[in-house]
Symmetry: C2
Amino acid sequence: MQENAIIRAVTSIDVARAAGVSQSAVSRAFSPGSSISARTKQKVLAAAASLGYRPNRIPAIMLSGRSYMVGVVIGGLENPFYATALERLATALQESGLQVLLMHVDDALTLDSALDRLVSYRIDAIVTSLAIGSKSVVQALSQLRLPVVCFNSSHVGPWISTVNSNNHGAGLVAAHLLGQRGVQRPLWLAGPVRNSASRARGKGFCQGLRVAGLAPALTRMQGNDTYDSGYDAIACLRKQGIRPDGIFSSNDMMACGAIDALRECMDLQCPRDVVIMGYDNIPQAAWRSYDLTSFDQHTEHMVARAMELLDEALGTKDSPLSRTYIVDAQLIERGSTGSGQ
Amino acid sequence: MQENAIIRAVTSIDVARAAGVSQSAVSRAFSPGSSISARTKQKVLAAAASLGYRPNRIPAIMLSGRSYMVGVVIGGLENPFYATALERLATALQESGLQVLLMHVDDALTLDSALDRLVSYRIDAIVTSLAIGSKSVVQALSQLRLPVVCFNSSHVGPWISTVNSNNHGAGLVAAHLLGQRGVQRPLWLAGPVRNSASRARGKGFCQGLRVAGLAPALTRMQGNDTYDSGYDAIACLRKQGIRPDGIFSSNDMMACGAIDALRECMDLQCPRDVVIMGYDNIPQAAWRSYDLTSFDQHTEHMVARAMELLDEALGTKDSPLSRTYIVDAQLIERGSTGSGQ
C-alpha cells in the first residue's frame, strides 16, 4: 500500500520540478493544441515517464466545458465500408487531439437512441453515419448547442452539417456507362427506402437512363444493403423470367450477392452476359471472384471535410453551423463491366 | 441568449421538483445499476425530458473515481471478424451501463501507444484485441491498477485477463478433417509470426498431422492475414511447382485469397482438387464464391466471458485479476471441404 500511495501521489508539480519547467508548461505539454516548444514538451514527457505521472483530463473538462471527446455513433459495421470509414475517422480525430466516445446502435439508421447517454459525458460534438430520425433530436441538438456532422444524410437543421458523396452524380455516370456497354434491360438494385443516399443514387441513375432512352426498360428491385438481399433479388427475378443485362447496385455488398446469384441461378457470367457495378469500393470488390466495378466514395476526403466542419463548429461555439459538402465519388472500373486489367 | 441561459440552467433540483421526488432519486435514475423503482425512474425521466435536462457524469467521475468508461483499443477493422467483434463488444458494454472510449491504432498488434491518452480520461478498464507489446506496458498497468481484458493474447501479468479461442484445439480438428478427406500434401498458411493465436493454430495443426502421419509432407507459407497475402502465397507455390491438396489457413481472409489464386493461377477447384478451411467464420466465408469451411470463434461467448472478467475486476478493484478463459471454436463445414449443402 505504501508503494501504491507514492505512485498515486505523483502530481504535475512533481513533474514540473523534475523537468525544471513551470507547472503551466506541464499542463500545456498534455493539452492538445497548446503552445509549447518541442524541446520543453520533450523534457516534460521524459520527466512524466520516469515518475509514472499521467495527466487527468477530468478537472479541465469541468473548468472549460470542453472534453475533447467526440461522440461517434455508428451501426452496420458488417459492411466493410463503414468499418474502414470508422478507422479513418477515429485516426483523424485522434490526430487532432480528440478522443472517440463510441456509441453503437443496432438500428443502423437512427441517431435518436444514442443521444441521451452520449451527452452526459459532455462531448464536444457528434459525428455519425446514421440519419437523424426525428424532429425531437434536431430540437435537442439545438437546445444542447451540440454540433453534429453527418455522413450521407439528407437532414438539415441548425447545428447539423453534412458531408455527402455525390450520390446523384454517380447515378448519372452509372447510367452513362451501362449505355456505353449497349445495355438494353437495366436493373436498379436499390437499398432500403429510408436510406437517402440510395434514393439519390437511384434518382441519378433513372435520370441518366432517360437521357439514354433506356428508362422504359428499367426494372427495380429492393434490397436491404446486404449480400443476401442482392442474391435474393436476382433469384426472384429468375422466377419472374426477367433477365437483366446491366445492373447498378446501390452498394457493393448487394452487387456481390447479385453476381453469385447470376452465376448460380441464371448461369449468367459477368461481364459476358451482364455488366454490373456497385458503390463503396469495399475491399471485396477487388477480390478476384467479383472483380466489381464500383464507385469509391473517397472516405479520406470525406473525413477530411468532416474534420474541417468540426474545427469550424468548435471554433464558433456560440453560433450554429449548418453546411453541406459534396465529395465526388470516383468510378473504379474493373472486369464486371468489361473494363478489367 | 436569454433563452439559452434558461435551458442551460436546468438542474437535477428542477427535475426533482417537477417529478415530486428527491434529488437523490434523480441522481439514481441516471446512474447505471442504482437501486430505484421502475415507477420513480419513469417519473424522473419524464420530468427530465419535458425540462430538457441532461445529466452530467463528470462530477460523479471526480468524486467516485469511476467513469463507467472502458477503453477499447482496436486495429485491423478491414478484417470483418474484428468489425463484428467490436459491434458485439460495444453493445455488451453499453447494455451494462458502460461507455466505450475507442482508440484505434494503426499497428494492429500493440497496445502500448494507446495507453497514455486513454488513461487521462480515468477509464475504469481496457478491453483489447491487440497484444501487449512490452514489459513497460505491463508495469504501467500495475502502477495504474488498471484491469485489462485481452482477446486471443498470450500475455499474462497482474491486472491482465485473457479470453482466447481454443486455437490449438481447432488446429488439431483441422488436421483430423484433412486426414479424413485423404489429403496427402497439406499446406499451413500461417498468419504473422507475432500473432500468438496464429502460432497456436499452427502448433495444433502440426500436432494433428503428426498423429495422422502427414507431418513430413507439410508445406508452410507465411501470410499477413490479408486476402492479398493468401493469394500471393498460392501464386508463389505455383512457381515452385508445389500443388497442395489440403489447406488450413490461419484466417478466412487469406483463405479467400488462396481459393481465388488456386482457380486463377493453378486451375484447381475446391473441393474437387483441393480442400481448404479457414478461421473466424467471417460473412464472406458463406458467400457462394467461397463457400468456405471455417472455425467460428463464437465472439458472443467470448464477449460474454470478457464482460464477466470486467465485472469481477471492477468489483475487486484493489486486487489484481489475472485469469484466462478458453472458448471452443465451432467447425462450420461448407463446400470447400466437400461438406456443403
